[in-house]
């Protein structure tokens, strides 16, 4: 108990300093304070919490990361940039949106503002007040509470009605040694707008830091978002993201969530339907090895009729690593005509690797088409033999099949350089050539 108090003292000191040094409006300071109070009382989630049953937060709680100073010098980011987003990249460094490192020249038609700018812009201010922390439960999750408590220079993106952005936007989140970063992003896509977003997390070789981000997205009627989340944090990093997606009538959310990096990572993604005819594709791939630990918790909530959801998550677990997948799909009483399918397939590449998967489907309406399933297995002998019988050696045969297993997810990605980069990472990890 004593350590618990001490640990929170560390955060309390940082929190108070951060709150004092900020001229945010009172409502925002109040929100931050409420969130911090929750964290002070509850701390980080414990494994007694059903949602955290397989993921211990103790390794993070033990650490004392520092909050980054403003105006720190930004290291070279060249290696992390996506060529399609040369003129549409938004850079976060140690949790803060840094305009100077960003390039917004292809984004003139939309609003790209830091929180401090947005709060001085009457249109944006209203959006922020109405949407910030509206759907993410900072009062249920200590990490989200902590992120909310440390809201500083976040990013506000507003895509105007009918605006179709042709270039993909890259959000690059970079963190460095011993820092903790609390990136916060709020995106509002107005009616019939269309956008591709690449949310990428990176770090430098074996640096140890803690990224704790919250991404909130509201899709208005008929809006479309393609969302690629690429987590390639450094091998010693801690990473957690809470993604919250609100889908209005006839809007489409199509996401692919890739997890390669971090020593310890967790992704909570909640997708809520707010009108009829919405569509959600929430797919992902986690590939871990060594002593990595990764946890995905997904909720897809069908609250309205005639919405469609597809979830296809795949996992490749090697070495002594461990993965957790928990996917809940709710179909509420009035959600007739729901079409929901969920699948989680896992490939264990070593005897010491482990996965805990729990797909859950809760249906309260009869007029629906739903299915779900999960598998945990190894490569099929018959598949391996097929490759051997063509002269391919056993090691290469295994690598090729593992590659193929992952490709189903990676092939979905429509931004060429992202797909290519993921292919390369995958092959490097398999030390295979194709």
């Amino acid at each position: 108990m004593i350590t618990q108090v001490k640990r929170q003292d560390h955060y309390a000191e940082l929190f108070l300093r951060s709150l004092d040094n900020n001229d945010q409006p009172e409502w925002l300071k109040a929100l931050r304070s409420n969130a911090f109070d929750y964290f002070l009382i509850n701390g980080f989630p414990s494994v007694e919490d059903e949602e955290w049953k397989y993921t211990s937060t103790a390794p993070i709680a033990r650490e004392k990361f520092e909050l980054a100073e403003n105006a720190a010098e930004i290291p070279s980011i060249e290696n992390f940039l996506i060529s399609e987003s040369k003129e549409s990249r938004i850079v976060f460094f140690n949790g803060q949106f840094v305009k100077e490192a960003s390039n917004l020249s292809a984004l003139k038609g939309i609003k790209v503002l830091s929180f401090s700018e947005a709060l001085n812009d009457s249109v944006s201010e209203k959006f922020i007040r109405e949407n910030l922390a509206n759907h993410v439960s900072y009062n249920k999750n200590g990490f989200t509470a902590l992120n909310t408590a440390f809201i500083d220079e976040g990013l506000f993106l507003l895509i105007p009605a009918n605006y179709r952005l042709e270039v993909p936007i890259q959000l690059l989140f970079l963190a460095t040694q011993e820092k903790m970063a609390f990136p916060r992003v709020l995106i509002v896509a107005e009616k019939q707008s269309c956008l591709t977003l690449i949310e990428s997390y990176s770090g430098f070789e074996s640096e140890k830091y803690f990224t704790n981000s919250v991404i909130e997205v509201t899709l208005s009627e008929g809006a479309e978002l393609k969302h690629y989340r690429i987590q390639r944090e450094s091998s010693e990093a801690f990473h957690i993201t809470n993604t919250s997606i609100q889908i209005s009538k006839n809007a489409t959310y199509d996401s692919t969530n890739i997890t390669f990096g971090a020593k310890w990572s967790r992704h909570d993604i909640v997708t809520n339907f707010h009108g009829e005819g919405g569509q959600a594709f929430v797919d992902g791939l986690y590939m871990v090895s060594g002593e990595q630990h990764t946890d995905t918790h997904s909720v897809i909530d069908h609250r309205f009729a005639y919405c469609t959801s597809r979830q296809n998550y795949k996992g490749i677990i090697d070495g002594k690593s461990r993965a957790v997948f928990n996917g809940k799909v709710f179909v509420r009483e009035n959600a007739r005509g729901t079409d929901a399918h969920q699948s989680n397939k896992n490939l264990l590449l070593s005897n010491e690797a482990r996965v805990d998967t729990k797909p859950q489907l809760e249906i309260f309406n009869d007029d629906v088409r739903c299915s779900h399933g999960a598998t945990v297995g190894q490569l099929e002998d018959e598949e391996i033999f097929y490759l051997l019988s063509r002269g391919i050696n056993p090691m290469l045969a295994r690598n090729l099949l593992t590659y193929g297993f992952a490709e189903e997810i990676i092939n979905k990605i429509t931004v060429d350089s992202v797909k290519q980069m993921l292919d390369e990472t995958l092959l490097n990890r398999l030390s295979a050539k194709l």
Partner: protein, 249 residues
């Protein structure tokens, strides 16, 4: 002699299926192995290819003067043995051309020849695909994924065309094919037939042999070859059924 099987006893999961099989194959020959279900035709094919689930209990197989049973399945393939599967396996996420280039280059490396880069290989592949009337589109698709039965069998023959085996075993390649697909597959095989290679056709029906003419026909029953002859034997079988041979044996 390319292949010699001597007194082969083999089985699966402790059950003996082949019970003293003898077979000799020279280069340039096409042998048809026929027989009722359960006679051991597919077991023979899989034992030659080196399927790990099959166990050799007794006997030997000599291939190009070497003890085949001491070779790993992938080594056998690089040494020129090829089996067209009765049920080809689907490999999602790996394209036909990627897969074939990998297999081709493994073999080239083994032979001490130069490997081909993707562009060079694609030229080769396009030529080979014509043999089985396969569109370029097929080459980009994942191996066998979503292919019809006929397309899968054509794909097996395409692999054979690319890998140019010395000994090809076609395991019930005719099963499940309609007449058009059968003709395409058979044409492909006939074009691949040379004086340097040999082909074993494992089949239940005589139909395939109308299109690919064998030099020898063997009838397998209860794990042994009970009768051998030329192509006329297949016609006789078609007329009189397998019971006739079994009774005679």
């Amino acid at each position: 002699m390319l292949l010699e099987v001597r007194d082969l006893h083999a089985g699966i999961e402790g059950k003996e299926i082949l019970k003293g099989l003898n077979l000799q194959i020279n280069k340039g020959e096409v042998h048809a192995i026929m027989g009722p279900n359960g006679s051991g035709k597919s077991t023979l094919a899989k034992v030659i290819a080196g399927h790990p689930n099959y166990e050799v209990l007794k006997g030997e197989i000599i291939y190009k003067g070497k003890n085949l049973l001491e070779m790993e399945p992938d080594e056998r393939a690089r040494e020129g043995i090829f089996m067209a599967f009765q049920y080809p396996v689907e490999i999602p996420g790996v394209s036909n051309s990627q897969f074939l280039r990998l297999a081709y280059n493994e073999k080239m490396k083994h032979l001490g020849c130069e490997e081909l880069d993707p562009i060079e290989f694609n030229d080769l592949l396009k030529e080979k695909a014509k043999l089985v009337q396969m569109d370029a589109d097929f080459l980009k698709r994942s191996v066998n994924e979503g292919f019809s039965g006929g397309e899968k069998k054509r794909n097996e023959i395409l692999q054979m065309a690319v890998l140019e085996p010395r000994l090809a075993i076609l395991d019930e390649t005719d099963s499940g094919l309609d007449i058009d697909a059968l003709r395409i597959v058979a044409d492909g095989v006939n074009k691949l037939r040379t004086s340097e290679n040999a082909i074993i056709l494992v089949t239940h029906y005589q139909r395939l042999l109308n299109y690919i003419e064998p030099d020898f026909v063997h009838v397998l029953a209860d794990g042994r070859i009970v009768k051998s002859g030329d192509k006329k034997l297949a016609l006789e079988l078609e007329e009189k059924g397998y019971d006739w041979v079994k009774a005679a044996a």
